[in-house]
Amino acid sequence: MSNKITFSDLVERIAEETGASKRLIHGLFKEMVTVSKEGLLRDGQVYITGLGTFKLKWRDARQGINPQTGEPIEIPAQNRVYFKPEAALRRFINQEYRHKKPEIIGIDMKPAPSMPKSKDSFFRRKRVTLGLSAVLLALLLLLLVVRFYLFRPAYESAPPLEETTQPETIHRYKIPEEKETGKEEQGQAAIQPDLSPAPETVRTSRISEERVIEEEEQGQAAIQPDLSPAPVGIPGGVYDVQAGNSLWSIAKSFYTDPYLWPNIFRANTDVVRNPDVLEVGLIIQVPSLEGTIGSLSKNDIVNIIDGYMQAYLAYRRLGKSNARYYLWVANQYNMPQVLQQYEDKIDESDRDFILRIKGSPRI
């Protein structure tokens, strides 16, 4: 409770400050009160600079309880005075808290046990929706991982599917090694009709990227074989970002699997700050893969985990709340020795979040 200062002390201080007589200041306040009453009765509202707005509000009659006797009493309809301090005054008295900002404290599950006690159903509903959205997100991620683990072997066991899903970039990247550019054109022409039933959007984007890759190939036909260390695997290269490209689409055109985009991001963290934003004309290094999609080598997986961790750290730096899911994916590869080097960079709340997801390996 704050201490009180008497009105006469206040008047004395103001008189000192302004050089006016105490009598005048007394009069000033007295008249201010009278004028304020006039204003309240006339307009229902008075604004005094330095203090704020005084407003009248009509309150309907309501039932009340006499706090001393506990018996119900009728509170008649009446005007009440409400005061709103002006913004400058609020700022002035809050100077010591000026640097503090509201902070997101995330989906906090801790208060959950104490919550059912409260009768506030609104709050409980919110909790349910929060829980539901968390479950939905987890499901989405599960799908992502199921795709990683289940469908990859399926690619291998089902060659016809592989033919249709793997674009011709791989074939064409092998061709420079053979140095038979003439056959490339024919091969491409032969494959092109097979792709025609593919969805329109996919095809057009692929063709536009092909054009770029072709241009690159012409310039780098000699370098290309050197960039792919192993005979099997997917060669990388450099890529000139066009309008409409994303790491996702680049990963799709190089690796056929767009989910490997963090592998590209990892190699370009010095030029790409935000994985969601690529500048047109940026030269992106696309690392090669030792294995193929479906049978990645151990080094590839280490690199991909590294990529997901870089993505996690980047999103974390950008303050995105979904950053933790990239950490989760990195963790799903179940190679804690790789995550060890990021030990001190992982946020505690994210770690907790991941550990709460059932079936997650320990970080």
Partner: protein, 97 residues
Amino acid sequence: MNNSEVIKRLSSRLVLSQRETRRLLKHSTEILQKTLDRDLSFTIPGFGTFGTHLQPERKAYNPYHKTFMMLPPKRVVYFHPSSVLKAHVKARRTDNE
């Protein structure tokens, strides 16, 4: 009623120039602000009591981010109208609603 009209009426009642009234009122409210800032409450007779209290740090649901947020502590100015003022404005104004 806005501030300039308050000053106009005050100056005519106090028989002072508007400029002088404005200066006096400005200095007065400045001192009132400083008093509030020093965590002191005061009463203007016939009007009401001003004071501050500390609203502690609290957790609130942010419907936009759909998460809980920790809101920083802040000080809030309160005004309790005196019984004289309450009685004066109690009756329903004819143009109200």
